[in-house]
Amino acid sequence: MEQISDEAYDAYLKERGLTRTQYTSMELLAVAAAREVPDGAFVFAGTGLPLLASMLAQFTVAPHMTLIMEAGIVGPRVEHLPISVSDPRGCLHSSMVSNMADTFGTTAMRGYCTVGMLGGAECDMYGNLNSTIIGGYWPGGVSDTGHGPQVRFAGSGGANNIASFADKILVTMVQEARRFPERVEYLTSVAGARGPREKGESRWDYGLVRGGEMVMISDLCIMRSNHETGLLELDCVFPGVSVADVVNNTGWKLDTSRSKEFTPPTEEELKAVRMLVDPSRIYLGRKSKREAAAQQK
């Protein structure tokens, strides 16, 4: 951080129309997610916002964390933001590049997968993620309904494995009621408790020996899984968002009784994510649907 002069940063801000204190939705998400990474963690991150947040964590709260990418990369010192798990930028100066089978079969199984950073298209009250389909699994030709899914996403990739192996799962999503239903249509990754323990529907009942601590970082708020009930509960709302906004954008009866205030991104955090992580604003430049809609009004 020291190496970035005030002049360079000011020039960047001016060129991009930004200020030192204001932030975009993407910047907020990256900062909020990064803060959840314990120092010393072994972080399995997918590309996009997860990678952005992990890199920011490395520059701020977790200098001793080890970034791991499913293609086989362990502990890189990234200089240029990778845009996919197969981007050669991801393995720069890493400690080891092995292969996909070893990353899950050896590194993660061996006990070096403490934090997983994921995204998803749907998230339900027990922290289950759907990144596979909306509107029925089967293609039109063989489905019982005669039509295929409305949307087919990229699928699990490594997400299911990461959700299964990690102690703690961080998920970033844009929040809308229809994307936060009581039950996901398709269970791609068990990021949270999965279901109630007393009904034998928890992640442990289904054979997962790790995890259960899930943090949902949406563009409105942060939710955490309750260790007793397994349900996601409101932890804090982001500046400018009301508890009612969150409740209206959640498909289940959200417990908001323990809601706290969120400390907005600091100038240091914003400078780091802008100047060290994504100076080209490949991801930071994106607008959430909410921002885009607000802009159109």
Binding site: V142, W204, G207, V209, E213
Partner: protein, 245 residues
């Protein structure tokens, strides 16, 4: 086998495309219905070692892994999947593709393959295939790769066909050779949101009207762009590649 239910794609794998299509298992005469499709998607069994080996493991004095959660005692209480209480194991049949195609930087004349940078699942996918086609930037003398055999990924006998095709990975990246063409991917992404006519025109120009890969690289991409993508030494990719959105 993995003593975790992680390799499922879904925690209860109810979707079985091949099974639904009737392609799994054997014919009456004992032959496989389709010799490339395994008889089952996967199988659950009771872990004969009762969760032995799960890290962090119950060493005296604790384990040195970074993971701290271990709910094996809760898992042991469950009778999911097999009806028996205890830790379960999932078994997955091997893949048996008829053909695998991979790309490497260098392949020796004898078929020895060396990959640089990220190789993901390529070596495993290559070895299990009936026929292996290896595309490469350059065919080199066997002695070049045999001088340091511990750096090679596939032995010569595994390779069926070698295709020497410099820049054949374009518009993707080939570590230490060239970077991906950022502009190509951005414009391709945008193209797919345009009208059918525009998409058809693009495919006509890029594929139908180009004679071969060389013609495509020469006329549509151009040597100037290809050279802009050359990898920066010490990085494996083009360190100063412009990546505007």
């Amino acid at each position: 086998f993995a003593p975790l239910m992680a390799e499922r794609g879904r925690d209860v794998p109810v979707q079985d495309v091949f099974g639904k299509a009737g392609l799994r298992g054997r014919n009456d005469d004992g032959s496989w219905i389709d010799p490339r499709i395994p008889p089952k998607k996967l199988a659950f069994i009771d872990d004969p070692f009762d969760g032995w080996g799960l890290r962090p493991h119950a060493f005296e004095g604790g384990d040195t892994t970074a993971n701290k959660t271990n709910a094996v005692d809760r898992v042991r209480e469950s009778d999911k999947y097999t009806g028996q209480k205890g830790v379960k194991v999932i078994l997955v049949p091997p893949l048996l593709p008829e053909v695998t195609v991979i790309r490497a930087q260098r392949v020796a004349q004898d078929g020895t393959v060396r990959m640089e940078g990220i190789n993901g699942p390529d070596a495993e996918q290559a070895m299990c295939a009936k026929v292996l086609i290896v595309e490469c930037e350059q065919i080199v003398p066997s002695d070049e790769l045999r001088a340091a055999p511990e750096l090679n990924h596939l032995p010569s006998h595994q390779t069926t066909v070698i295709v020497e095709q410099p820049y054949g990975g374009y518009p993707s990246a080939v570590p230490n050779y060239y970077d991906y063409d950022w502009d190509w991917w951005v414009s391709y992404g945008r193209l797919n949101r345009k009208s059918k006519e525009e998409v058809r025109d693009w495919w006509t120009k890029h594929v139908v009207e180009t004679e071969d890969d060389w013609d495509y690289l020469q006329r549509i991409v151009g040597m100037k762009r290809l050279f802009e993508l050359r990898a920066t030494p010490g990085y494996g990719y083009r360190a100063d590649l412009k990546r505007p959105m």
